[in-house]
């Protein structure tokens, strides 16, 4: 919302300087977005008299002027062909900044002649491209008159941001009223007395929709349309409006000045009486913006016998538009329902100054006064004879009275404001206050449809008084012990991302939505209800589905990074994946991928330069489980979902509960995704990791250290090549659960020396005696048990 300072002062009697007005506007909630103070820009320039103009002795095209600035006579060198003795022009003194050229003017010597400033052209002032000569000023304008005053550029333009509730301030008078309430000035009265009609309005009005409850019409005969007077054009131009003709300009002026959008129709183009109704689907309407719209059921239209003349509250039509030749004009002032106006405007994508105001809610009581004010302005500027007004329906009345307890201001607003001050503020804003004891009955003004209850009144009082005056009070802690602020899932998310980053994965944040086709490759439809998770209005077709997995986003990211020259990536993300749109239909997942080489090529050899493999992903998944307090022993099963390599992937389970899955990404899927390097990945479901059963004790269980040396024995078994090593470990562990502390694999070998179809698996077993040192026969005995157990459970034989 834009306005100029002088325009504001037409409603506000104030001596306050601009800066104070700006501070007050923002403090009121009418946030100042910008100020263009052109008077400041043009302050250095003023009218001066050219006393003499002689040809420059050393330059054909230059002249040496003597300029009378009122204070002194200065030598100025000038190149303009129209510079001559006796003329008046605009002088720019040395030291001034020339807005059109961006140059800071300095005293100088031009071809040997002193020059103390310049006489400027319109282009040099940044006003136009005119540069044929310097600006010429009429003889009767006194020397010293500011340039901005002559060009009427001395009125600062203020732009404020308007919150959607403050429709009343979509008119300058509303802004003035708010400012007056702060005590910065007083609101000037408005003369809205009725204009007496000299003839009967020949056009009847029928209202056939509840969305237009009130309509006021008047005809004015014998007007003269044409360009608006300078003051009106200047004001409209200042706020970015293009002057069109005086009749149209008056309606625009009323819109911005009083938030009273009007419509003027060429009465000679109208046919019969007016009928306000809702449109039927498919009706066509040619609007004043030269576009044709196909209307839908329920849109409010103003019609006559010739058809649709206007779209209520949104835009008028071309068929009855006024022109230079219009002599009889019909003025429409109506109240259109905010919601209906908003819906129509949105559906047809028409933004207009009228819609902006109707959808925020204009003052319903101001329809008839607005008509009178518009009539006066038309008669003043265009002449003509006004008719009676025709009034159809009546203004909707709200009649809201709120019980206000002055003490509530302190209770909610946190500031003591005395009763007299409260009453003064409310009254200045147009509220009617009736004191009925401890509480007051406060009636809302018709233009404040945003006021609904007691807290609204508190806001009115404390905002006019100033939010800055409310003393800030720190929020006291509720208890001495800082409670654990994190939810369990938030703790696990933090632990997961921390451990993954410390393991070398960069944490990403990617979209929660993805391409449905891609999602289907990663389990959409397995558990998900595909239709239920498809976004009805996606921002793009590639982002139309709630992700079932984070992996595709990370794989795509790896692809993008590879395209930029970084193929060896390690990325992770902790975030939601979706199974259904229900409140419990999502999981918090920590997922990650590694692509290309494990660490990149390096002189130290194979380990760092090797290609990523499923065990990298397995290690990442186990690290997340460990960091999140998950179980140390999990079952590993082979049933990872289809986007993993079927032979190089696994699922980590705790009973039926799937904690995680990991493995190489299926090469066919990588191929589909145009990824040309190997990728391994994992997905840990943080919400599936069981929480500790009860609050963990701060004290740890007592540590008992055995005084006896642990004993390590190595065994190599020949087993079938397809046997999973875990079977050997479990068999060995089971041989003597009391003494065997750890069992680990340190070699798996196939090849020379081992029969085809077999492999050699070497394990290390650590025995931890608890109460005495083991004797050699005892150790031999346990070794035998281990060998027997492995043989029995796996068919493995000790390698010779």
């Amino acid at each position: 919302m834009k306005f100029t300072l002088n325009w504001l002062k037409q409603h506000l009697e104030t001596a306050a300087p601009l800066d104070q007005i700006l501070i007050s506007l923002t403090a009121l909630g009418l946030e100042v977005d910008g100020v263009e103070d052109r008077a400041k820009i043009f302050a250095p320039f003023f009218v001066a008299h050219v006393v003499s103009a002689e040809k420059h002795p050393d330059a054909d095209r230059l002249k040496c002027l003597v300029v009378d600035t009122g204070a002194e006579k200065l030598k100025v060198v000038c190149g303009a062909p129209n510079a001559r003795a006796g003329m008046k022009g605009i002088f720019a003194p040395a030291g001034s900044h020339i807005p059109g050229t961006g140059i800071d003017l300095k005293k100088g010597v031009i071809r040997g002649q002193e020059s103390n400033g310049m006489m400027v052209s319109e282009r040099e002032m940044g006003l136009s491209d005119a540069h044929e000569g310097i600006i010429e000023i009429a003889d009767d304008v006194p020397v010293g008159t500011p340039f901005a005053q002559i060009y009427r550029l001395d009125d600062p333009v203020i732009e404020i941001g308007l919150t959607p509730d403050r429709g009343d301030c979509a008119g300058i008078r509303g802004i003035a009223r708010d400012l007056a309430a702060t005590g910065i000035g007083t609101l000037k009265p408005l003369d809205d007395t009725a204009v007496k009609g000299t003839f009967k309005n020949p056009v009847g009005v029928n209202l056939n929709t509840e969305h237009c409850p009130h309509f006021v019409g008047r005809m004015i005969k014998g007007v003269k349309n044409g360009p608006s007077p300078q003051w009106l054009q200047d004001r409209l131009k200042a706020i970015g409006q293009k002057p069109i003709s005086v009749l149209v300009d008056i309606t625009n002026y009323m819109t911005f000045d009083l938030c009273r959008p009007l419509h003027v129709l060429d009465a000679d183009k109208m046919k019969g009486n007016l009928n306000v109704r809702t449109a039927k689907k498919g009706e066509s309407f040619e609007a004043l913006n030269d576009k044709t719209y196909t209307l839908d059921d329920g849109m409010v239209v103003v019609c006559d016998d010739s058809g649709i003349l206007g779209l209520g509250g949104v835009m008028g039509g071309t068929s009855t538009g006024v022109s230079e030749t219009t002599t009889n004009v019909y003025i429409e002032a109506a109240y259109f329902d905010p919601l209906r106006t908003a819906r129509t405007g949105r559906a047809l994508q028409i933004s207009s100054d009228a819609r902006y105001r109707f959808e925020r809610g204009i003052d319903p009581q101001f329809t008839a006064p607005g008509m009178e004010l518009a009539t006066k302005l038309i008669i003043e500027l265009c002449g003509g004879e006004p008719s009676d007004v025709v009034i159809a329906g009546k203004a909707p009345e709200r009649n809201l009275t709120i019980e206000h307890a002055p003490a509530y201001v302190r209770q909610l607003g946190g500031i003591e404001i005395d009763e007299a001050a409260q009453e003064k503020i409310l009254t200045a804003l147009g509220f009617t206050v009736r004191k009925t004891g401890k509480t007051w009955s406060v009636s809302t003004p018709s233009w404040r449809s945003d006021i609904e209850g007691r807290p609204d009144l508190v806001e009115e009082i404390i905002r006019v008084n100033g939010y800055d005056k409310i003393p800030a009070v720190s929020v006291p802690k509720l208890s001495a012990v800082t409670r654990s602020a994190e939810t369990p899932i938030l703790s696990k998310s933090r632990q997961a991302r921390t451990v993954l980053a410390s393991r070398g994965l960069d944490e990403s944040v990617t979209w929660s939505f993805m391409d449905k086709g891609l999602a289907e490759k990663f389990g959409a439809g397995d558990k998900q209800n595909v239709a239920a998770l498809t976004i009805a209005n996606p921002i793009s077709s590639e982002l139309n589905f709630m992700r079932p997995s984070i992996l595709p986003n990370l794989i795509e990211a790896a692809g993008r990074n590879a395209d930029k020259g970084y193929p060896d990536t390690a990325l992770c993300e902790v975030g939601p994946v979706f199974e259904s749109p229900k409140i419990t239909g999502y999981h918090v997942c920590a997922a990650g991928i590694r692509s290309g080489l494990y660490l990149g090529r390096h002189w130290s050899g194979k380990e760092s330069s090797r290609v990523v493999d499923a065990f990298d992903a397995k290690a990442d998944a186990l690290a997340v489980l460990a960091a999140c307090g998950g179980p140390t022993q999990v079952q590993i099963t082979r049933d990872a979902p289809s986007w993993y390599h079927p032979g190089r992937s696994g699922v980590m389970r705790l009973g039926a509960n799937v904690l995680a899955r990991f493995g190489e990404i299926h090469p066919a899927i990588l191929q589909d995704m145009k990824i040309a390097f190997p990728v391994v990945g994992f997905e840990v479901f943080l919400d599936a990791i069981p929480l500790p059963k009860k609050k963990a004790e701060t004290a740890r269980p007592l540590l008992t250290l055995s005084p006896f040396q642990p004993i390590s024995r190595d065994f190599a078994f020949i087993v079938d090549a397809g046997l999973e090593v875990d079977n050997i470990l479990r068999a060995a562990r089971g041989a003597d659960k009391n003494l065997i502390d750890t069992v680990s694999v340190f070699d798996v070998y196939q090849g020379k020396g081992v029969e085809a179809g077999k492999k050699s698996v070497a394990i290390a077993v650590t025995l931890q005696p608890k109460d005495k040192t083991l004797t050699d026969p005892e150790i031999e005995d346990i070794s035998k048990k281990i060998i027997d157990s492995v043989a029995a459970k796996t068919g493995g034989t000790l390698r010779a």
Partner: protein, 382 residues
């Protein structure tokens, strides 16, 4: 060699004429063995010298064997002299041997020299995303003020996202949100069936107030979604929402809490703060908070200066919202606030472009991300 000469031997020198043949032999042997040991240049040489001198058939051992044939007096004198010689030679061998060993080790170490300009074995160092860092910072700051974290689902319904928050149906304020919709849930009816992606984290206010009794003091952080994508908007971004409900929480507390928060977050003790009236459907009175900044030279610097920067929206929770959650607005009141996490992160850490947050460019993640050891902590001030 002077210091090796024993006292007893010196005494005998008083009368060189009485030197026995044995003594002369010992003197000669000493000279010979000393030369032999000193001539050894490697460990086998030293070993050979040891054998030659002290071995079973060594020269000193040989002389020792002759002692038996001497008179007790002679034997006493010669035996003592021989023992002295034996100790001297043994000591000399040990000294020489350890010198040679050190020499051998020095040679070995010289041979083992590596090119220390080569890079060590690589390790990956991952980084924490700036958004996560900010979320953890916020949790730490608000935990210190007695807040706990609450959460809610990303896929919401019309009731929790709009209606309960006092957005009237069809109101332009709803349109400001550019909502993503999902198909209606056939198991639900009315507003609960109308599924959408939450446009703000304010939904968690509703969920919290519906299940908890005041005093309530929570923050919630998470993903929110709006159908907008340009230089300064992405279809998904993050918000933090705060809610304080009790019997006597007023605007003064709102100002105090949020001023304290901004100062803690930006680590500026005297950060200027300004509250302006504003509008949100779910608060009344409503405010926007600005913090002081300087825009000199085209840059933006949080802190002193003559300019203001809008940072968050806040207000006293609207009685309709409190009532919609089953609480009595005549008994309970409080404040709520919300802000965009990307914006806070960009301002604090000087990240210029919102869109880059979601591109997963490893160069960006490595540059703007945080060391996993550098977790936000009130105690360390990080």
């Amino acid at each position: 060699m002077e210091k090796l000469r024993p006292q007893c031997y010196k005494k005998d020198l008083k009368d060189l004429n009485k030197v026995t043949a044995m003594t002369a032999t010992i003197i000669a042997l000493k000279t010979e063995l000393t030369q032999l040991v000193q001539a050894a240049t490697d460990l086998p040489g030293i070993e050979a010298a040891r054998v030659a001198a002290l071995g079973k058939n060594g020269k000193i051992t040989g002389l020792m064997k002759t002692l038996g044939s001497m008179s007790p007096e002679e034997r006493k004198e010669a035996g003592a002299a021989l023992n002295v010689l034996k100790d001297e030679i043994a000591a000399l061998i040990e000294t020489q041997e350890s010198a040679l060993k050190r020499q051998a080790l020095d040679q070995k170490l010289a041979d083992e020299k590596i090119d220390i300009t080569l890079s060590p074995r690589p390790e990956r160092k991952g980084r924490i995303h700036p958004i996560s860092q900010t979320m953890e910072e916020l949790a730490a700051i608000f935990a210190d003020m007695g807040f706990t974290v609450a959460d809610g689902p990303d896929i919401e319904d019309d009731f929790h996202n709009f209606t309960a928050l006092n957005f009237p149906p069809g109101h332009p304020a709803r349109e400001m949100h550019d909502t993503f919709y999902l198909p209606d849930d056939p198991d639900e009816t009315g507003e609960a069936a109308k599924k959408l992606l939450r446009t703000h984290t304010s939904t968690v206010q509703i969920r919290t107030m519906m299940k908890e009794k005041p005093p309530i003091r929570i923050i919630t952080m998470g993903r929110v979604y709006r159908s907008d994508w340009d230089m300064t908007h992405t279809p998904m971004f993050h918000q933090i929402e705060g809610l304080v409900i009790d019997k006597d929480i007023h605007m003064g507390h709102l100002k105090g809490c949020l001023t304290d928060f901004c100062r803690a977050f930006f680590k500026i003790d005297d950060l200027p703060a300004r509250f302006r009236p504003s509008f949100f459907p779910f608060t009344e009175p409503s405010a926007e908070m600005d913090i002081g900044c300087s825009r000199e030279g085209g840059g933006l610097k949080i802190g002193g200066g003559d300019s203001w920067l809008e940072i968050l929206g806040c207000g006293m929770v609207h009685p309709n919202v409190i009532r919609n959650c089953g609480l009595d607005p005549d008994e309970y009141q409080g404040f709520a606030f919300g802000m965009g996490l990307e914006r806070m992160t960009m301002l604090k850490y000087g990240i210029p472009d919102l869109r880059t947050f979601f591109e997963s460019d490893v160069r960006w993640l490595q540059h703007y991300g945080f060391d996993p050891l550098e977790r936000p902590n009130m105690a360390t001030g990080s």
